[in-house]
Structure formats: structure tokens, C-alpha cells
């Protein structure tokens, strides 16, 4: 194995059904329902998925939902803003934990 991540592996996702097909079938059935038009549009869901893909730093998901967002009619501007939302939440999550740092600081400082 030359690299852990290979773009062509994305197309092999379904092979995860080998070993336990019923579980994978349930996953895909649920997954497809999640992304269907509902209270949120398919485009909004694709943009959320794109943001989450960046938050969890999954290169397969970034590839899939960059294409997915475009194929749901999103613009580069909307996709960029979605990534900023992910970045803001990740950055904010670090910063807000600073309150814990301060709690500990104040508890043990004179």
C-alpha cells in the first residue's frame, strides 16, 4: 500500500457490504433517505455534508460532496461559505474550551 487514501477507493464503498450485507444495506437505505428532499432541500443537505466533510477531514467525503453540491446547483460562493462555517465551528470549539482552561487556572492560582 503506497498511500492510505486512494481516490479510486471511493467507488469501492459498497464493497463494505462484503462480510455483512444486511447492515450495509440498512446503512445505504438510511443514508439515501437522509439526503432526499425533505424539510431541507437536497442542495442544503449537500452543503451541510460538504461542511461536515471538512470538519471530519474526510477526503472521500470532500470529493463526493464537492461534486454533489455542484450537481445540486450550489455555487462556489455557497460552497466556500459552507467550509467557513465548518472552520468557524472547529475554531470556536477550540476557543470555547479556553473557558475550561480559565476555570482550572483560576481554581489553582492564587
Amino acid at each position: 500500500m503506497e498511500t492510505y487514501y486512494n481516490p479510486s477507493d471511493l467507488a469501492k464503498f459498497a464493497s463494505m457490504g462484503e462480510g455483512n450485507k444486511p447492515l450495509m444495506d440498512k446503512f445505504f437505505s438510511w443514508y439515501n433517505d437522509v439526503f432526499a428532499e425533505g424539510a431541507l432541500s437536497e442542495r442544503e443537505k449537500a452543503l451541510i455534508a460538504l461542511a461536515v466533510a471538512h470538519a471530519v477531514q474526510c477526503p472521500y467525503c470532500i470529493d463526493a460532496y464537492t461534486q454533489g453540491s455542484l450537481e445540486k446547483g450550489a455555487t462556489l460562493e455557497q460552497m466556500t461559505e459552507a467550509v467557513h462555517v465548518a472552520a468557524a465551528i472547529r475554531g470556536g470549539a477550540s476557543l470555547v474550551h479556553g473557558v475550561q482552561m480559565k476555570n482550572v487556572y483560576h481554581k489553582i492560582s492564587m
Binding site: A11, S41, E42, R43, L70, E71, K72, G73, T75, L76
Partner: protein, 348 residues
């Protein structure tokens, strides 16, 4: 890719040749042959079910040089339909009850006999659709055309790849969006796209890249909202059309390293319902020199109507052609992927 100012043909590029494009398309050995994939539906070979649209390509001359153009059209192209060939089209039409004539190009309006041809088709009492690139309608020498269209009740179908200037100009050239807006406003002034006027004005979306179009109805709602809000523009329908892996779009796919994955996507998203509704089943396509084809894409690949059939408008035979076997190739996957694609948008 930088903007183009001339066709591939003008630069003598190998990829401008239909044979070269067919060679590349046929080299994708890992992918199933389209004809075989269609036959797996269990309905035999792909064949026409009639002719309801008589599509005429008036020539490759165009005032734009769009990056995705399947015609490789441009200001340098000289292939153009003569009045004699137009007359042959009229003669053929007059012997049939084909209801709709679809005029395309290039920019069909740039054919010097365009105005005459439209008037003659209307005398035969047929519905005329013109595929107008919009910018030609505000170019010197052509500004009378919107009125002419309205006078004859011509349906106007125009490409506008996006409701934002960036995406439109990226595909169609700098300044195209602004001039397109000007032309659309002129069409609206005449009643085009306005409810109750009877004047149909439809837009076409092509993806600006190696991906498939979004949901047609949802994108139409976006176009109506955004064009209405920003410019007060009205139109009737939006057609989403998949880019065919031929000509300049094929060049883009190859240069950008997207060819293999794009073809794999088209094949993996083969939709039996879209395959059953492909436009070639009800269309006949006439080339600028009168040659007959199953569609405008086959025309650009120089794949004429099949063996034993008339291949020129001089020998047009509606009975034979309306049940003809369709000539297919790997590019046909472009019409059968996802929601399907045709000159009238999705097919499912």
C-alpha cells in the same frame, strides 16, 4: 482553460476531427458499449418511434466561442446552409405532418437566409423553435430579430449556464452574461416569457465543468427567483442539459484530466427510463449540407443515418426514417445519465 477566440478547427487541432473523437470514445474499453447496454433493457435495438421534431443545423458560424461547444462553432467557421438546401428542407417538410422545426447552429441567425427560411417554414404552418445564444440579438445587424421572432410566434430557446455572471462568462466568454441580460430584457419587452402572451422563451443550463446538471425543477425556481429579483427577467422553462463528451467539451475533459471519471459517471448513472425517452427516437437532424443524422451530436461526429436509409435531405422519406434504427456510440451515455438529457431538458 483560458478563453477561446477561435474554433479547434481553425487551429488545425486533431481533436477537431470527428474520427479522432470517435477513436478516443471507443478506447474506453472498461466501459460497456452503449448499444449493448441499451439492448440489456430487453427492448431490442434503439429505434425511432416517429418524427415530431425536424431539427436543422444552419451552420457552424457563431459570434461566440464557448468552451463546451459540441459544434466547435465560432466566427472562423464557414460551413453554412445554402438557400437551395433550405428549399430542400421545405420540400421535405411540406410532404409530412412534422409539427415542429428546431433551428440550431452555430448561431442560426447568422445564416444570411435565416429570415427567409423562418418565414417559409411558417407558411407551412409549422411551429418554429430557434436556439439563440442571446448575444446575437443585441449585435449589429441582428437587433431586428426579436420583433421578427414575435411576429412569427417563434419559440426562443437560449443558453444561460448560470444566473451569475461569473459562471456564465467562464463558459461562454467575457461579457456574455451582460449582453444576454440585455437581450432577455428586450425579449421580455415584446412579451416573451410573459404569461398569457403565447410567446415562449426557455433557457438552457449546461454544467460549467465535469459534473451532471442539478434537479431541473429546483434550478428553474432558482433562476426565476434570482433573474427576477436582480433584473426583473421572466422566462417560461429552464432545460438542464448534460454536456456531451465530444468536441470542445471532450477537449476540456482530456486537458483537465476528467475524461475517465466523467465517462464512468455517465455510465454508472445509466437510467433505463431516460434511455427509453432519448430525443433521437422522435427527431431527425439535418446538417448544414443537407446530410441526415439521428441527432445534432451524431451530426458533429459525422455519424449519418444508418445503412439502407436516406442520408441526404434530397432523398428524405418520412416513413422509412420514422422507424429507423438509431446509430449509437459511447457519447450516447450523455443522454441517458441521471434524469436524462435532450434538447428539451430532462427526459424523465
Amino acid at each position: 482553460m483560458t478563453a477561446r477566440h477561435k474554433s479547434m478547427n481553425a487551429f488545425g487541432e486533431t481533436l477537431a476531427l470527428a474520427n479522432e473523437q470517435l477513436k478516443i470514445l471507443s478506447q474506453t474499453e472498461r466501459l460497456p458499449q452503449f448499444a449493448h447496454r441499451f439492448e440489456q433493457l430487453g427492448e431490442g435495438e434503439l429505434a425511432a418511434t416517429g418524427i415530431s421534431i425536424f431539427q436543422v443545423n444552419l451552420g457552424k458560424l457563431c459570434n461566440q466561442v464557448c468552451k463546451h461547444c459540441h459544434v466547435d462553432a465560432g466566427p472562423d467557421r464557414r460551413e453554412i446552409m445554402t438557400r437551395e438546401t433550405m428549399q430542400l428542407c421545405l420540400d421535405a417538410l411540406s410532404k409530412t405532418d412534422i409539427a415542429t422545426v428546431d433551428l440550431t447552429g452555430g448561431a442560426p441567425e447568422m445564416n444570411p437566409n435565416f429570415r427567409w427560411f423562418v418565414a417559409e417554414i411558417k407558411k407551412l404552418n409549422r411551429h418554429v423553435m430557434v436556439r439563440s445564444n442571446l448575444t446575437i440579438l443585441v449585435a449589429n445587424g441582428y437587433t431586428d430579430l426579436p420583433e421578427l421572432f414575435a411576429q412569427h410566434g417563434v419559440e426562443v430557446i437560449s443558453s444561460l449556464p448560470h444566473y451569475t455572471p461569473t459562471n456564465t462568462d467562464k463558459q461562454r466568454g467575457e461579457g456574455v452574461f451582460e449582453r444576454s441580460i440585455e437581450a432577455m430584457l428586450r425579449l421580455n419587452q415584446l412579451g416573451y416569457g410573459v404569461e398569457g402572451s403565447g410567446l415562449m422563451f426557455n433557457l438552457v443550463y449546461n454544467p460549467v465543468g465535469a459534473f451532471l446538471p442539478p434537479n431541473q425543477a429546483s434550478l428553474e425556481a432558482d433562476y426565476k427567483r434570482e433573474l427576477g429579483k436582480k433584473f426583473g427577467i421572466k422566462f417560461n422553462r429552464l432545460y438542464t442539459i448534460t454536456n456531451m463528451p465530444i468536441s470542445r467539451f471532450l477537449e476540456y475533459l482530456l486537458v483537465s484530466g476528467n475524461y475517465e471519471s466523467y465517462m464512468e459517471k455517465l455510465v454508472s448513472l445509466f437510467n433505463p427510463a431516460a434511455a427509453r425517452n432519448v430525443m433521437c427516437r422522435t427527431t431527425i437532424s439535418v446538417g448544414w449540407d443537407g446530410t441526415l443524422y439521428d441527432c445534432d451530436f451524431n451530426q458533429m461526429l459525422e455519424l449519418t443515418t444508418g445503412a439502407g436509409l436516406p442520408t441526404h435531405i434530397k432523398a428524405f422519406d418520412a416513413t422509412l426514417l420514422s422507424k429507423r434504427k438509431i446509430v449509437t456510440g459511447q457519447h450516447c451515455y450523455g443522454c441517458t445519465a441521471g434524469a436524462g438529457s435532450s434538447c428539451g431538458g430532462v427526459t424523465t
